[in-house]
Structures are given as C-alpha cells and as structure tokens.
C-alpha cells in the first residue's frame, strides 16, 4: 500500500471501486446470514440484479410530492459517493489536493440521512413520516459518537484527515493500540449496526410498518429513484466499514506501484470482510431492540467513546 500523497486519478478510482463493491458487501452479509440460518440464500451477486431491475423500471410518484422529490435520490447518492471519495482504500496518506477530512465524511453521511428524511416527509405518507421521525431519533445519538471516536484517534495524529490517520496507524496492530483505542473500537462496533441500518437497531429485511426505520423512508421511491437510494445505502455501508478499518486496522506493508496497489486492495478487502462477518453474526444472534431501548443501547457506545476521549486527553 502506498504511503505519501495520492493523485486525483487514484482517488477517483477508489471512489468508483467503493461504489461498485458496495452491493457485493451487502450480498456477502446476506449470504452469511442465510448460511447461519441454515438456508441456501440468494447468490452473492443478488443486489446487483436487484439494482439492475430497479433501474429498468418506470417511476411512480405520489401526487402530493413536490418537484424537489425527484432530486432527492440523486442528491443522496451524490453525497454518499462523495463521502466514498474520502475513504482511503488502497492509499494511506493524504491526497495530493485538499479533499476533505473525516468530519467532512461524517457531514456528507449526515447530509444524506437528512435528505432521505426530507424526501420521506415530502411525499406526505404516514409510513414516511414515521420512518423519518424514528431515524432522526437515533441520529443525534450516533453522529456525535462517531465524531468523538474520530477525535480520540485524531488527538494522537494531530489531524483529522483520514488518509493521514490511516498512515499513522502504522504497520503493526493490537500491541500498538493505545488504551483509548480499545474503547473507541468498542464504541464503533456498537454503532456499526446503527449506521448500516441492521439488527439490533433496524431490520433491513422487514417491511412491517411498525418495525421499519430506514425502509420506511424509502417507501415512496420507485424505479430508478429507488435504485439510487438502494445503491446509496450499499455505498453508505461500505463507506462506514472503510472508515472503521482506516481508523483502527493497520494498512498493509509498503510496496512498489502495481503490487503495492494489489496488496493494498487485498488488505482492504480482508478488513471489510472481517467487519462484514461481524455484522452478519450480530444480525443472526440478536433480536431487534424496541425503539425506546435503542437509546440505551447507543448510550453504551456513547459512554465508551466519551471514556476513550477522556483517556486520550487525561
């Protein structure tokens, strides 16, 4: 994996890679869950087929939706993909031009969430309103914690730029973790199901009206619009996993150009796979929490992150 500054081309390549591989990760998680439940499950490439199907279909839009509603899926996808550009995939080092740091990434993801909720409210349906309000109940608990975790790792590096943070993580692993990193990692593990919309916070496979959070906000979209939203949630998932691996997992060893790239890509794939397995295991082991218990669950992550920050500063 290359350290040092990365050119624009590489950044764009990484961004495209993330978008393309996002659905694959979802497919892997679904397959793992199916296997853990002793069924065959759909193929790993099923999300791609679903996306293709959606993009071929026509759009049906509610009468009550405004003109802005058509723009929502596009903007959400754009924000999420832009966030993807900030994640170091094969590079470990700041990009050659000012791109944005971890806070920008979190801001873009928050923007995407906000736009989704606005879209859900815009259509005026009951399910949209419910889903939006529930999602927004969880958001204020999740986003500050993410920022605190980023800060606790950034304090040591002196910068919040993700590439620099990844480079600073170095080539060794657990023994190099500061005490606060354990707590920060625990906080991230607690938050991952929330950011990716999985059990125990939200059930991605359900369409029962009382149990939907994220899905509730997508109900009004159809056709290519829905395809964009689905692609955005796949990308969001892989971006979050990439954030965690950049902050906490080591980059692969330094190498020359082509082999270094391949090695870096392979290491990235391995790290994402580990986190995906974690998500699948959590989804298979626990039940979805009732909505008013979710803040208690997230509070654990909150306290871990706060303690991590305190351990760094004190």
């Amino acid at each position: 994996m290359m350290t040092g500054e990365s050119p624009l081309g590489l950044v764009l390549l990484e961004m495209a890679l993330l978008v393309l591989l996002g659905p694959l990760v979802t497919g892997i998680i679904q397959k793992l869950k199916a296997r853990l439940q002793c069924r065959q499950g759909a193929g790993v490439l099923q999300p791609y087929r679903d996306l293709a199907k959606l993009f071929r279909k026509g759009t049906v839009q509610a009468d009550t939706a405004s003109g802005f509603f058509w723009w929502i899926p596009v903007l959400v996808l754009a924000a999420t993909v832009a966030a993807g550009a900030l994640v170091p995939v094969v590079r470990a080092g700041p990009s050659a031009f000012p791109l944005g740091d971890a806070l920008m990434l979190l801001g873009l993801l928050a923007l995407a969430r906000f736009l989704t909720a606005v879209g859900a409210l815009d259509a005026g349906g009951a399910f949209g309103g419910m889903g939006a309000s529930r999602e927004m109940t969880i958001a204020p608990l999740v986003e500050p914690v993410l920022m605190m975790v980023v800060f606790s790792t950034a304090v040591a590096a002196g910068t919040t730029e993700l590439g620099a943070l990844a480079a600073q993580r170095g080539t060794s692993w657990i023994l190099d973790w500061h005490a606060a990193d354990f707590l920060g990692f625990a906080a991230m593990l607690v938050l991952l199901p929330s950011e990716t919309g999985r059990i125990p916070v939200d059930n991605p496979d359900t369409h029962l009206e009382l149990t939907m959070l994220h899905e509730g906000m997508l109900l009004e979209h159809s056709g290519p619009g829905l395809g964009c939203m689905a692609l955005a949630s796949h990308t969001r998932q892989i971006v979050t996993l990439g954030l965690v691996s950049a902050l906490f997992f080591p980059v692969a060893a330094d190498g020359a150009d082509a082999t270094g790239l391949l090695l870096g890509a392979g290491a990235f794939a391995a790290k994402i796979l580990v986190l995906a397995t974690y998500l699948a295991l959590v989804e298979s082991s626990y039940a979805k929490l009732r909505l008013f218990r979710v803040p208690q669950y997230l509070a654990i992550g909150f306290v871990c992150a706060l303690t991590a920050l305190a351990l760094r500063i004190l």
């Binding site: 023994l175 354990f182 803040p295 306290v303």
Partner: protein, 218 residues
C-alpha cells in the same frame, strides 16, 4: 519485557476493564452482568500474569491463578446457580434510568483520572493507569449496587469493586504480600456464600428479593 510495554499492556487492560464495567452498568438482564463480571475477573487474571512476568514476582502468578479459578469461574458459577434456583425475572429496571447511570459513570471515570493525574509520583509506585482505573472500578461498583434493587445485581457490583481493588493492588510495584491476597479472596468467597444462602432463604420463605425488603425504616 520492557517497562514501557508493561505500562502499555496494563493501560490496555485498564481500558478493557472499563469497557466491561460499562457493560455491567448498562446490563438489563442479570446474565449479561454476571458474564461481564466474569470477563472482568479474567482480565484481572491476565493482568496478574503480565505483571508477574514483568516483575518476576512469583506470588503474582499464584494470585493470577487463584483469581482466574475463583473469581472468574467459581464465583460467577455460584451466582448463576442462585439465579437458576431463584427463577428470577429477566429484565431488571434500575432505580434511575440507564442513561443517567451511564452519565454518572462517565463523570466518575473522568474524576478518578483527574484525581490521579494530580498525584505526580504515583506512576512509579503503581504501574500504568492502574490507580485511576482501580478507583473508577471501585466507585462504579458502588454505583451498580446503589442503582439496582436486586440482590444478585448488588453482589455483582461488589465483585466489580473488588476487582478494581485487586487491579490496583497487583499493579503496585512488587505486588502485595501473597498471604494477604489469599486471605482477601477467602474472605470474599465466604461472604459470597453467606450472601447466597441469605438470598435463597428469603426467597424461599418470603418469596421476595432480599434486597427489596424495606420494612425497616426511620
């Protein structure tokens, strides 16, 4: 291993101990709390082993082994046995909301780190961040006991407090005298047995949880 790496490992274990403490505070079901405190005792035993290799103090090996056997295995097993005998209800509501408990916990952690930071010379008397983590665990154990109404939760809080004390005691350079640590563990075992008997006795005669009896007032 070098002094630096010992500090780091002790620091890391301290962070993990704080994590288990958070789990105990946030645990809704008694099973989770018992498993968390067993994991905590396991971490203490590991800390003992690490410190034993670092300082070359053979006593610490014995203490680590006894902690592993007694506090990580036997005592949690006793608690689980009592839970099964009691047919206890799964969910336990704490006296104050979990969020408030966790906020207090963070304040306690910050305060203990602040207090130990003001003691300059403590770093070479007690390795790593064992002192602030020890203070935090002891106080948080009391917090668990104060915010829970069931006897078993209170006993878990007691264990957690004792873990905090043990962690600090082990990290004192050269460790505490062996006979004292063994005596302490024996006392803890006896106390737990007496408590378990009391809990079961009240359960069988009165069919209430002993910690929620509150007739004596004023």
């Amino acid at each position: 291993m070098s002094a630096e790496s010992v500090y780091t490992i002790v620091d890391d274990l301290g962070a993990l101990l704080l994590f288990t403490m958070i789990l105990i505070l946030a645990a809704g079901q008694i099973y989770r709390a018992i498993y968390a405190v067993a994991a905590q005792s396991l971490l203490i035993a590991i800390a003992g082993g690490v410190l034993a290799t670092a300082t070359g103090n053979v006593d610490l090996w014995v203490i680590a082994g006894v902690t592993l056997g007694v506090k990580a295995m036997v005592l949690p097993w006793v608690l689980l046995w009592v839970v099964r005998r009691m047919n206890v209800r799964r969910e336990v509501e704490p006296v104050i909301p979990v969020a408030a408990t966790l906020t207090l916990a963070v304040m306690v952690v910050v305060m203990s780190f602040h207090v130990s930071a003001s003691l300059g010379s403590v770093r070479h008397a007690i390795t790593g961040n064992a002192l602030p983590v020890g203070i935090a665990l002891t106080l948080l154990g009391v917090l668990v006991m104060a915010t829970r109404k069931t006897a078993l939760h209170q006993m878990v809080g007691l264990f957690a407090s004792e873990n905090g004390i043990f962690f600090t005691a082990m990290a004192v350079t050269q460790g505490m005298p062996l006979i004292i640590e063994i005596g302490v563990i024996l006392d803890v075992i006896l106390a737990v047995l007496v408590m378990a008997i009391m809990v079961l006795r009240v359960r069988s005669t009165v069919d209430a949880d002993i910690a929620s009896l509150d007739r004596l007032r004023g």
